[in-house]
């Protein structure tokens, strides 16, 4: 029933839910290489129709109509049968059915429909400003000046903001944010990024030619995957991703038809990465694909785990031994809260391991303007640094990024300020530091609050939120609830989250969207709502959980 209300991708959700046991297995084990026909069967509307899934039936009817109605083959050109089968497999849980239901509920609330809550709280996506975080003044001043240069005459803007805006405009074609930039980004911003990386990594050199600015980090991640995925059958590229993972990876791999190789993070050890598990995953995968890429998210999303230096060294050694291209998703590098935890960049560790590693291990590291203290998701700013890439491959990468023309220039400008913030002697410095510190301190406080609260709830266990912006607590669901979910045609944690949304107006993402060990259930919640609101949210989740457990016990 809940699935039936969910609009766009309910069909596949439901189908998968119907085969939920199978689904969990298929999804979280290594998928057979380019499972062409097999997978097509999986999502074809012809196979057994479930009476519970109205959406699915509808699709099946629609497709049949084409066959029947078409006097000649006059049906649609683009149908479920003819469309790219890889695209059919793409799911994007953080914007999936539960979010679409949230949008619908918001609409109903606006239209005056009575609900047990007055607003929908979207704790599903790392969208700081949507949750009320205020933009950093300096960043917005410079952007406004760049957007409308006559403001440079306005004495209400501080001099350093004006100077920064002039410098950025000077580097833009026609001195305007509205001109295309070079495809890898504005040159002087690439230089600023490389200086920033050098400083972050204690002087390890960074070459601006290795910096590619991007449309948010996700664009850069997809670009590298697009570049590297090749081969057919047993030589199809396999890409190792953590479980739980950020769904961008599984979505991109599905779309590109790559083989997803899962390695499980160790929930009992704070979601840390275990070398033995990496080895297990790659060894098994070698049976049916060609593992070429290892993706790491540090600090972790959704886990909130921050990797130790030793762990990073192990991963690098592993990548070298197994000849894997390392993709280091480090977009939460400034979001580290826990005592004793520190962000170590893969690049820094790589270089400190000596030339044997630093001159051989191929790597791309990603960063973004959407997270950290800025939280400026809407601007789509980001960059990647590539290391040890074969020169020919790099030429191909440069060609590939030119297809997108260029990353959004306002996002590039924003990135420039992030890597080149106000200096102590400048007028904006104090305010900037104050604002930045306040954001990060509040996040640290909320990380603690969340962990503490969840661990008081019987049936919920929560690892420390060491970094990033999420918590990924484990929920034990009563067997009756699991049965009920199956009956409703939902995976159990989707059922749990959908009920929570319907009853309390809180939007979370079920753990199944990120991947989890069979038989375990989780959800991801952001720690972004303002502290006061977060407290209420946590309390509501507690009440709901107790109610839910009671109902099914």
């Amino acid at each position: 029933m809940y699935c039936g209300q969910v609009q766009p991708i309910q069909f596949r959700k439901c189908l998968k839910a119907w085969h939920w046991r199978e689904y969990e297995q298929v999804k979280y084990q290594v998928r057979a290489a380019v499972d062409g026909d097999n997978s097509r069967n999986c999502s074809s509307p012809r196979i057994d129709s479930s009476p519970l899934c109205s959406g699915r039936k509808e699709d099946a009817e629609m497709s049949q109509q084409h066959a029947v109605n078409g006097v000649l083959p006059k049906g649609k050109v683009l149908t479920l049968e003819t469309m790219n089968p890889h695209v059919k497999k793409v799911e994007y849980a953080v914007r999936g059915p539960i979010v679409q239901r949230a949008v619908q509920l918001e609409k109903e609330l606006r239209e005056g429909v009575k609900k047990p809550f007055t607003e929908v709280i979207r704790a599903n996506i790392g969208d700081a400003h949507a949750m009320g975080q205020k933009p950093i003044t300096f960043l917005r001043q410079v952007l406004a000046l760049c957007a409308y240069p006559p403001l440079l005459e306005d004495n209400k803007f501080p001099e350093d903001a004006k100077e920064r805006a002039r410098r950025i405009l000077g580097a833009c074609g026609g001195q305007s944010l509205g001109a295309y930039s070079a495809s890898p980004g504005i040159e002087c911003i690439r230089q600023d990024v490389s200086r920033y990386i050098e400083k972050r990594d204690g002087g390890i050199p960074s070459n601006p030619d290795n910096i590619y600015l991007s449309t948010g980090a996700s664009d850069a991640i997809v670009t590298i995957l697009k570049l590297l995925i090749c081969g057919e059958g047993h030589s199809r590229t396999g890409v190792m991703i953590s479980i739980p993972q950020y769904p961008l990876y599984s979505a991109a791999l599905a779309e590109l038809g790559a083989v997803q190789i899962n390695y499980y993070l160790d929930e009992d050890k704070c979601w840390s990465l275990d070398l033995k598990e990496l080895k297990r995953a790659v060894t098994e995968a070698r049976e049916h694909c060609h593992p070429r890429v290892l993706c790491i998210i540090n600090p972790g999303n959704p886990t909130g785990q921050v990797q130790s230096r030793e762990c990073i060294e192990e991963v690098i050694r592993f990548a070298k031994e197994e000849k894997l291209f390392l993709m280091a998703d480090e977009v939460y590098q400034d979001n580290v809260y826990a005592e004793g935890c520190k962000f170590h960049s893969f690049k820094k560790v790589l270089f400190e391991m000596g030339p044997e590693y630093s001159s051989t291990v191929e790597m791309a590291s990603f960063h973004s303007t959407s997270k950290c203290y800025m939280g400026e998701c809407g601007f789509r700013g980001g960059y990647m640094e590539v290391l040890n890439m074969d020169p020919d491959v790099k030429t191909q990468l440069t060609k590939l990024v030119s297809v997108r023309l260029c990353p959004p220039v306002p996002g590039q400008a924003l990135l420039d300020m992030v890597v080149n913030p106000p200096r102590p002697e400048e007028p904006s410095y104090n305010t900037f530091i104050k604002e930045r510190t306040a954001v990060l301190a509040a996040l640290a406080e909320k990380a603690r609050m969340t962990e503490d609260m969840f661990n008081t709830i019987p049936g919920i266990t929560c690892n420390p939120v060491q970094g990033a912006m999420y918590t990924f607590p484990r929920v034990s669901l009563p067997q009756k609830a699991i049965d009920k979910a199956k009956e409703e045609g939902c995976v159990p944690d989707m059922y749990y989250c959908m009920r929570l949304l319907e009853e309390e107006g809180i939007c979370l993402v079920p753990g199944s969207g990120f991947g989890q060990r069979d038989g375990t259930y989780h959800f991801r919640m952001t720690i972004l709502p303002p502290a006061e609101k977060l407290k209420i949210v946590l309390q509501k989740i507690k009440d709901y959980h107790l109610r839910f457990t009671k109902e099914f016990s």
Partner: protein, 475 residues
């Protein structure tokens, strides 16, 4: 180091631009260092990028954007009241009242509504539903997303093909190849002002069937680089052709606001399709693309565009949504789209100035077009078809055989050789026709006509001198 990469990426044709740009950059540096050249600065009109060519952005767009970026400006009397009001309204529809938040599909709700109203107005009443609009980080991004659904694997003849115009927009071809599609060229008829001929579409389709499985027809109207604007009859022919041959229509209409010929007007594929009535209007699948980068707005750097979907299978639409939901369109670009779709109206404080700016810009470009046509056609060995719309001139060069031989000797395409010489000796950076595909044995150059008056005049003067010298040297 691993050398193995995606064959689709490897298949993307490298741009001639890349090589030319390396030299252009060196020349700029040499000029900065005081190296003596017959010119003191480079003229770059290689892309359809008016602001790079010195055209000022529209004030209203930038004022609204500035106020959205830095909401303290909402209380600044220095900005017109309607600017502040507009910004306020847009911010109210952004989550948390900030451009820094993600937007749900199709984009900022108000912007999607404005776009659909704009389309309805443009198409004189043909209805448009915001739910069929998807805002993306540029129209090219949207095109690539749609292509990624249409195109899929198989070997050789099983691969999906898309009919593409020759000459055509090179980035679109790159997008197509990058998702594994086959580009099936159809020639536009230069002698008839780059018209699209039905016989040629038929020929191309028949030829294609040997090598791939054609699934879509890509049209650029107004043409890039051709500058041709299609008539209603021509559009009807294309629609019938698509219907008969079961092709999905991809209509790249990003130059819809820039038409320079009195006798022509822009007609959207969607409108013509609707006005043809059934069985066409309710069956032919169409994706129409538009952008904030083109037209009088020219905000290329913002990366915002949209696609409107017509007659799409609802079951497929769900997947299209999923694909688009991964890529949030940058919010500053969405603000630009908002103004494009809903400019100031009579009675609003900014109306007069906005009108003045757009009219001036339009007359400037019109005058550029006239001058370009006049000068190009006066040059020996150059012939330019009328530029009816779009952003480019695409004159044909009749290169002397000796020049062609010389180019071959150097391993260059003849018109790339020409562009390189033009860059070297005259400091003019334009792109060669081979970048856009062209009929065998013909040569062209492309340059943007949306530039300041004196830039265009300077370019024409330099080009005229160069062309005469070039023809003398190689005759």
């Amino acid at each position: 180091m691993a050398k193995e990469i995606s064959p689709s990426v490897r298949c993307i044709k490298p741009l001639q631009y890349t090589a030319l740009a390396v030299r252009a950059k060196q020349i700029t540096q040499e000029l900065a260092q005081g190296v003596q050249k017959p010119y003191s600065e480079l003229i770059q009109l290689i892309w359809g990028d008016p602001q790079n060519a010195g055209i000022q952005p529209l004030t209203f767009v930038r004022q609204v954007l500035a106020a959205c970026l830095y909401p303290q400006l909402l209380n600044n009397d220095g900005l017109p009241a309607d600017v502040r009001q507009r910004a306020q309204g847009l911010l109210e529809e952004c989550k948390g009242g900030s451009l820094g938040s993600y937007t749900d599909l199709p984009g900022i709700p108000q912007v999607a509504r404005q776009i659909s109203e704009f389309i309805t107005r443009r198409d004189e009443g043909v209805p448009s539903d915001p739910r069929n609009i998807l805002i993306s980080p540029g129209s090219q991004w949207a095109l690539q997303n749609i292509l990624s659904l249409l195109v899929h694997g198989g070997e050789r003849a099983g691969r999906s093909g898309v009919l593409t115009p020759v000459p055509g927009h090179c980035t679109s071809i790159m997008s197509l190849v990058s998702v594994g599609g086959v580009s099936v060229p159809y020639q536009l008829s230069e002698e008839q002002g780059w018209q699209l001929r039905l016989e040629e579409l038929n020929r191309a389709l028949d030829a294609a069937k040997q090598v791939c499985r054609p699934v879509a027809l890509y049209i650029i109207n107004p043409g890039n680089p051709s500058g041709h604007v299609q008539s209603r009859e021509s559009i009807q022919d294309v629609i019938r052709f698509a219907s008969e041959n079961r092709l999905f229509l991809l209509a790249d209409e990003v130059y819809q606001d820039t038409i320079y010929t009195e006798s022509k007007r822009f007609l959207s594929y969607k409108r013509v399709l609707a006005e043809m009535g059934p069985p066409f209007s309710d069956t032919v699948e169409l994706a129409s693309f538009h952008s904030a980068s083109k037209g009088l707005l020219g905000e290329c750097g913002f990366r915002a565009g949209y696609v409107e979907l017509v007659n799409i299978d609802p079951a497929v639409k769900k997947h299209i949504y999923t694909i688009f939901s991964k890529d949030n369109a940058p919010t500053p670009g969405q603000i630009a789209l908002s103004v494009m779709a809903s400019p100031p109206v009579t009675g609003e404080a900014s109306y007069d100035f906005y009108r003045e700016e757009t009219q001036q810009l339009h007359s400037l470009i019109k005058e550029n077009v006239r001058r370009v046509h006049e000068v190009l056609n006066s040059l020996p060995g150059v012939c330019s078809q009328p530029v009816e719309g779009g952003a480019f001139a695409f004159p044909r060069l009749y290169l002397p055989p000796k020049a062609i031989d010389k180019a071959k000797e150097l391993g260059l395409e003849p018109d790339t050789f020409y562009c390189l010489r033009l860059l070297e000796t005259a400091g003019v950076f334009v792109s060669p026709g081979c970048e856009y595909e062209q009929k065998d044995g013909t040569y062209h150059i492309r340059f943007c006509i949306m530039a300041k008056r004196d830039t265009v005049e300077d370019l024409l003067t330099r080009l005229a001198t160069f062309q005469t010298q070039f023809m003398n040297k190689f005759s």
